[in-house]
């Protein structure tokens, strides 16, 4: 064993020194996220600002982690919260339990609940981990709220219901591309994504422009 053998042992190390680096300075720098990443939820509103959630508890019923707590109530006639008789009065998701399976999103009959791409949770106490309805609801601009402990990056808080738009009603391939969903605050009725079957169309033609591409930032 000579000195050369010793250096040969470092060959991989030396090679790597001159290659392009793949690590990023997380969390200052973050890699782009896939479109359908399952992150923290939002509760959507209709174009007129009414809440989509009707408090039906289907999401709570289907959730395998049993982390959703919903209670409905009679809609006040003079100041309805959602269209129809019933609205979601209490809505809570416990992020210490949620496994981001999106079964709640599939179960929801009104597309009230969808997921954003924010997945990095860090809380300093347990009650922060329980998101309440006030925290989950989109703001007046139709964008998810930026809670003090959340780290949103530019562009991440738009298209938070992309998953829903890509899915055809009843999962039937015949309906791919058919609009079977309602409009949203800030977006109107969004056009479908073509997904796997063709080229992506022009960026979704929104009736109302999202406030600005960068959201809160």
């Amino acid at each position: 064993m000579g000195v050369l053998d010793y250096l040969r042992g470092f060959r991989v190390t030396f090679d790597k020194l001159f290659e392009e680096r793949v690590t990023t300075e997380y969390p200052e720098e973050k890699s782009p996220k896939p479109d359908r990443l399952h992150g923290r939820h939002v509760l959507n509103r209709y174009e007129d600002g009414m809440e989509k959630c009707i408090g039906c508890e289907l999401c709570a019923g289907v959730c395998p982690a049993k982390c959703i707590y919903v209670r409905g109530q009679d809609n006040p006639l003079d100041e309805p919260v959602s269209p129809g008789e019933r609205f979601g009065y209490i809505y809570e998701i416990n992020y210490l339990r949620c496994i981001h399976c999106d079964l709640c999103v599939e179960a929801c009959p009104t597309q009230a609940i969808t997921e954003t791409k924010l997945f990095e949770f860090s809380f300093t106490n347990r009650s922060d981990a329980i998101y309440t309805k006030d925290e989950l609801l989109v703001g007046d601009d139709g964008l998810p709220q930026n809670l003090p402990w959340e780290d949103w990056r530019p562009g991440e808080d738009v298209a938070t219901s992309a998953w829903m738009r890509a899915t055809s009603p009843a999962g039937d391939a015949d309906y791919v591309g058919t609009v079977g969903w309602s409009g949203e605050l800030g977006y109107g009725v969004r056009a479908p994504e073509v997904g796997q079957f063709g080229e992506d169309p022009e960026p979704p033609a929104a009736e109302v422009d999202p406030v600005d591409e960068g959201g809160h930032h």
């Binding site: 009707i54 408090g55 039906c56 508890e57 289907l58 709570a60 019923g61 209670r71 409905g72 109530q73 009679d74 129809g84 008789e85 019933r86 009959p109 009104t110």
Partner: protein
């Protein structure tokens, strides 16, 4: 299920290729279900007449003339029927029926209270088409319209099955909802401006196979998958209807009726159904309280129990008394009885509030069950409170017996009742003269007695003399008439051949209280004081004690220093309110064990917060003496404790030891000391129909004594109870509070002229005890010379007038 008794004779039919034995007269749908083949259905309900409205139960039947589709709910089994419930033809029919039903059915399952437990949802999943071909606009109606205070109707969802309308007409006898319109425009609705005012409306919500009828107290409270449930017994009245208690997040949200063949057949009165609301009330007592200044302050259990023990320990046993206990479970009643009669040593113990009957009448006379009373072709003598107002589920059974099973009803009541329209003979004696009328009825006199014509008495006598079983429903129809009057009548009626008595004492578990010795002169297990010291006890009181009226009278005379209230509210609920108020002033220490802040709790020195009915396990004894299980579903609020634990702790604070650590210990002791419970397996009480506790005590008839001559200007007061009053538990239930009727004085029209009043006038009613002012109304159901008031436990109330120490209360009525 109901009308088809087990008959030896079977009918051989073939169902899906299997040989099956049907019973004579059995409907095909029932025969199949009994043999494990479920046929889907919407309109068929085993407790109501089949109508064949929905066609969901179509099956292929061959009776020898070739196979054809027939509704199995309308078809009685016949020999050699060949039935196919899963053939292609049957499936096509089911698919088609569902597609039709869904044409106009709005798909608002996500907001519908029935969603998740809906027969239409379930059967569409199991038998229906996967997709709709209907693209046109559906029929629309105004979304839910309230049809009474507690029920909403959503006509869009209705599938016109006729269950609710049949229930209202056939079962409840309140035909206030009907089909209206024709064809596509057919809808269920009430008459304009006339609500579905029925004491039983909640049942329609339970049997509606869709979410067309929903209950306001449960509206949007939870979804079926949130609910946990347990079978239990309703304790608000003494029928002991079987229920399931459903809760979510430790809160009771709903009671549903359970079909117990022996008791309630699945039905509940609305008061029973919605009574759980009081348990969730903000008003519930959650901590022990102790008097401080004008009100109370919260204290610890050890301080409260210590203060109660001090007050009791420094008082001689003969100056300690206890009233109440009908709210408690049997087990808690036993522990309290042992505490009071063994450790403390007083016999001044009464679970009834001066509006009941002496224990001898309930436990001494031969007892009958509800089924005995409702026997086809039997005779029922109603000699007690109006079952419709007081014992809702029993009323429905009696109604069925008279209408469907040919029972003969004879009423011996001070005024007309909810059953009067069905009664073969209605005899309204003058207050105080019930005994004389009963004697005349049994003897067959043809003279006028007690204000009743001889002809009417003779006709009713014929019905009794015709033979066959007779059941007397015995209770206190009027709190203004002494129990001695009822005792005299019972003595006369006990001479009828083949007679049985069904007690109609109304308060919750009052029959359990009698069985557990919460009555003067009694020990647990239907034993009299004086039979020696029971096993497991160290002493018994040496003298027979006083009943509630006696206790309060003694208190006024300064002979009671410590008064214990077991869920009793004498200040509001005792018929002689004047006496109760004076007694409270005279007693040194009042200890109240209760769940809600009643008037008496407000006046108590020490308040011990108790767990309510859904918060404790145990057993309940109904008016037949039937033991059935109570299940704990939720935990008590705050630090409220089960009554039996309060008794055990109080015993310890008094330096005694009851040697009872658990409910099992209670049963071990009962088995050893009670002749009537020895043979009973408490596990049998957990069965749906429970188990009857049999055995009577010796019975000696007593005479009521001389009735004072009637003042020519006076009327005799009749004080009855109504389904809804302003008592503390109904007042704490939002859906029942406010349902009590306006207080009125009801008189026979013939008395108006004599008094110089006319209908609607405000009159003042005065007795030796006090006076009230209210409107007067003419009522043909009131006999001449009587003045009827309903005790609402609030407002102008007969309890302000009654003198419980007399046989009858006379009142003077004048224009105010």
């Amino acid at each position: 299920m109901t009308d088809t008794a087990d008959t030896a004779e079977g009918i051989a039919i073939t169902v899906n290729g299997q040989a099956v034995e049907a019973r004579t007269g059995e409907l095909l749908i029932d025969a199949c279900e009994r043999n494990g083949v479920y046929i889907p259905r919407f309109c068929y309900h085993p407790r109501m007449t089949p109508v064949g409205m929905c066609r969901m139960c179509l099956v292929e039947v061959d009776t020898g003339r070739g196979a054809a589709l027939q509704p199995s709910c309308m078809l009685t089994c016949a020999p050699d029927m060949v039935v196919e419930t899963e053939s292609d033809l049957t499936k096509k029919a089911q698919d088609g029926v569902l597609e039709f039903l869904l044409i106009n059915h709005p798909l608002d399952c996500p907001i519908c209270d029935k969603g998740g437990e809906c027969p239409l949802q379930d059967q569409t999943m199991a038998y229906g088409p996967g997709e709709s071909r209907f693209v046109e606009e559906k029929r629309h109606y105004e979304k839910p319209i309230p049809i009474n205070d507690n029920v909403y109707l959503d006509r869009e969802r209705c599938i016109l099955c006729d269950r609710c309308t049949r229930f209202a007409k056939e079962v409840a006898g309140d035909p206030l909802i009907h089909f209206q319109g024709r064809g596509n425009g057919t809808e269920v609705n009430t008459f304009p401006d006339e609500p579905f005012a029925s004491y039983f409306s909640g049942n329609t919500v339970q049997i509606c196979p869709v979410g067309a009828l929903t209950a306001k107290p449960y509206r949007f409270k939870a979804r079926p998958w949130d609910l946990e449930e347990v079978e239990s017994t309703a304790t608000i009245d003494s029928v002991g209807s079987r229920i399931v208690i459903q809760s979510s997040r430790n809160k009771v949200l709903r009671y549903l009726g359970v079909d117990s063949d022996a008791v309630n057949w699945g039905w509940l009165g609305d008061r029973e159904r919605f009574s759980f609301e009081a348990l969730n009330s903000e008003l519930r007592l959650t901590e022990p309280l102790i008097a401080s200044g004008e009100g109370h302050r919260v204290t610890t259990w050890s301080a409260a129990l210590g203060a109660a023990a001090d007050a009791i320990a420094k008082t001689p046993a003969s100056r300690v008394a206890a009233i109440g206990g009908a709210r408690l479970t049997n087990e808690a009643q036993y522990v309290w009885a042992k505490l009071l009669k063994d450790v403390i040593g007083t016999d001044h113990v009464d679970a009834q509030l001066g509006d009941g009957l002496p224990a001898d009448l309930v436990l001494g006379l031969p007892r009958a069950t509800i089924a005995d009373a409702c026997r086809p072709g039997g005779t029922i003598v109603l000699c007690g409170p109006d079952p419709k107002e007081s014992l809702g589920a029993l009323y429905l059974r009696l109604r069925h017996a008279v209408i469907e099973d040919g029972a003969t009803l004879i009423e011996l009541t001070p005024r007309s009742t909810g059953l009067s329209a069905l009664a073969a003979h209605t005899l309204h004696p003058r207050p105080g003269e019930l005994g004389a009328l009963a004697r005349a009825l049994v003897a067959g006199t043809t003279d006028d007695v007690a204000g009743v014509s001889g002809a009417a008495i003779g006709a009713a006598h014929q019905a009794i003399a015709a033979g066959g079983p007779v059941t007397v429903l015995l209770g206190r129809a009027s709190a203004a008439e002494s129990a001695a009057v009822v005792a005299e009548a019972a003595a006369a009626l006990s001479n009828i051949d083949d007679v049985g008595f069904l007690s109609t004492l109304t308060r919750g578990n009052v029959h359990g209280a009698l069985d557990m010795g919460l009555a003067p002169g009694l020990l647990p297990g239907r034993q009299r004081l004086g039979a020696g010291i029971p096993r497991g006890w160290t002493s018994v009181p040496s003298e027979t004690g006083l009943d509630s009226t006696g206790i309060l009278t003694a208190a006024v005379a300064g002979e009671v220093d410590a008064l214990i209230l077991l869920g009793a509210d004498p200040l509001r609920d005792f018929p002689d309110r004047h006496l109760a108020e004076q007694a409270f002033d005279a007693v040194d220490t009042v200890v109240a064990v209760d769940t809600l802040p009643t008037d008496s709790v407000a006046a108590a020195d020490i308040v011990l917060a108790a767990a309510a009915t859904t918060e404790v396990a145990g057993t309940f004894t109904n008016l037949e003496g039937r033991l059935s299980a109570l299940a704990q579903k939720v935990t008590p609020p705050g630090t409220a404790r089960p009554d039996w634990i309060i008794a055990a702790e109080l015993a310890l604070a008094l330096g005694g030891d009851l040697a009872i650590q658990s409910l099992d210990d209670v049963w071990t002791e009962l088995a050893a000391m009670s002749p009537v419970h020895a043979a009973i397996d408490p596990a049998a009480a957990a069965e749906r129909d429970g188990v009857l506790v049999t055995g009577t005590i010796d019975y000696t008839p007593v005479e009521q004594g001389e009735l004072p001559a009637k003042d020519a200007y006076a009327l005799r007061l009749v004080s009855v109870r109504a389904m809804y009053d302003q008592g503390s538990s109904l007042a704490a239930s939002p859906s029942s509070a406010g349902l009590h009727r306006e207080p009125v004085l009801a008189l026979h029209a013939a008395d108006f002229e004599k008094l110089g009043v006319s209908a609607g006038d405000e009159v003042s009613v005065t007795s030796a005890r006090g006076g009230v002012t209210l409107a007067v109304q003419s009522d043909p159901g009131v006999p001449r010379g009587s003045a009827v008031m309903v005790s609402h436990l609030g407002g102008p109330d007969p309890y302000d007038l009654i003198d419980t120490t007399t046989l009858v209360t006379e009142v003077l009525v004048e224009r105010a």
